[in-house]
Amino acid sequence: MYKPQRLHPLAILYFFIRRVYKMAQALIPLLVLAIAEAEFRRWLLLATPFILLLFFAYGVLYWARYVFYIKGQELRMESGVLIRKKRYIPFERIQTVQISAGILQRLLGLVKVQVETAAGGKKAEFVLEALPRQKAEELSSLLQAKENYSQGSHLGKAAVEYTLSTRSLLLLASTSNSIGVAIAAIAAVSQFNDIFTSVHIWEKLGAFLKDIVAGEAGLIIFLVITLLFVAWLLSLLGTVIRFAGFRMTRDDKKIKISRGLFEKQQTTIPLNKIQSVRLIEGVLRQPLGMQSVQVVSVSNIDAKSEGSMIAPLLPKSQLTRFMGVFLPEFILPSPLQGLPGKAKARYYLVNILPALAIATLSAVFIPWGFLAFILVPLAAWLGKKQYQDAGWQVAGSSLVLRKRRLARVTTIIHRNRIQSLSVSRSFLQERKKLNSLTIAFAFGTNNGHRVKLSGLGDEETRVIVAWFNRST
């Protein structure tokens, strides 16, 4: 039995530092303004020790009142100094348990435990801010062990392990899609500087355009390339920091992932909570024959992307073996069935029309804007790829849908994880007797996730709907 217990006493220090830090953050503008006044400085000097003491006392009280324990089949937490809070979570509602360590926890030699349920919201339902690692792992295994597993796996007890080599890590980082984010960040910073160094930003912009027209474009192109390169380096660094030391293990009940250079992230995903598996082939990675494998579970930790990558970068040749070892429940049936030829036009149109519109607008309103017409053949090419890559297959109890926006994503889902299935037909599709298929499954926060495949013929649709109805 797990007796009521408190966090590690060092948690007092953690609460204290965090509170002071938050307070300081909120007050910095005020301090900067007021620090010039001698009167205020004296007052501040006198008051600071008292305020700190108050915070420390509050930290002690908070720690003393913060109790967690296991009773029956529930994890329970009671906390709060002024407002008493009690939270009970039944074991079967627990989706994932994550152990991590932020900078503050690392300094104190402690870890943080986050317990997630399927309920929506950004924060984990249950956070134990500071525990010794050993106790955290004990609790984690206790919570996981009590789970009732309905889908037994046919693997033995022995755990299998997968790690990311340094070479793969660097390749992963250099082809990372977060390049765009880094570019945006740099652009924002450089604009910010502009606004501060010169009020005449519009004049500058005018001069900039004149430079282009005057043929002094060399410097500008050089600048843009440098900017892109720095952005790329930044995103590379970010990915290395987040994925260094990647290690994934699977036993007969759960998948465990740990990764991170400075902040160790540890995620546990029970096998019976897995909703679907996504194989993602990024634009830069597909030509290299690389893809990532993502597990979709109901939990909301990192629901969108990284937290649930069970293989951040996997050569195509190894996929079958990898899936056979780690996720035999989700083996990809091959080959997929393509779409009928009459669906092709739609894929071209949805890409070419917006490109044409953008190009026309920019040709009219921006000098040299007609260069944007380069987008049109690119869009046509994308449309062709999207048509070629779209596909589906049903095998046993699993459904596979593959589609491309930019990256090619293959979703493998079991029938009993599909929350609803829709078939729609627009008045344009009516003419060609084509349908769009949408499946919805639980993913991340409350609204779930949908995958839509357009351009299925009537016969194909009938096969999929019949397959879906077999369960019910």
């Binding site: 399927a118 929350q419 299935l421 729609s424 037909r425 627009s426 008045f427 639980a442 779930g448 019910t472």
Partner: protein, 159 residues
């Protein structure tokens, strides 16, 4: 594809949507009047008001006279022991199947206008979003809600 689901929504729904559209059009007219005066005060181009008026009128005519009937004719549903089957849409016809075991809970909702016509909307929640059957008569809606709730309880798998 299988044949369409058999049950229609309540015929009063046509009246309900018609009144709703009338109220909405009335609000659009208020905006239009504001726009007319704003155009006078700030020297906006002269064509804005007539163009807006035409747009609002044509939408109002479609929404008041045609759309309610079309929606009523196209909306179909069926509830069996195994699944909920929805079929609707004007320009895009959509058929949705929800297995009964995936239903988390059902609600009936009723705004003031719906109450006036004795109608309710049934909304069916799954772990991946909510589906609605609009404008059923109160009796049908509440018995449907109870029936779905009962059927969904029979098999209770985890998410």
């Amino acid at each position: 594809m299988r044949k369409k689901p058999s049950r229609h929504i309540d015929i009063n729904a046509v009246k309900y949507w018609r009144y709703k559209s009338i109220i909405q059009s009335f609000f659009s007219l208020i905006i239009l009047t504001t726009c007319y005066y704003a155009a006078q005060v700030w020297d906006w181009p002269q064509w804005i008001t007539p163009v807006l008026l035409c747009l609002i009128l044509s939408f109002a005519i479609f929404n008041i006279f045609f759309k309610p009937g079309i929606i009523w004719r196209t909306w179909r549903y069926d509830v069996t022991e195994q699944e909920i089957d929805l079929f609707y849409g004007i320009f895009i016809k959509k058929r949705t199947l929800i297995p009964m075991v995936r239903v988390q809970h059902v609600d009936t909702e009723q705004g003031p206008l719906l109450r006036h016509f004795g109608l309710s909307t049934v909304s069916i929640s799954t772990a991946a979003g909510t589906h609605k059957i609009p404008a059923l008569s109160d009796n049908v809606a509440s018995s449907l809600r109870d029936a779905i709730s009962e059927l969904a309880r029979v098999v209770d798998e985890d998410v």
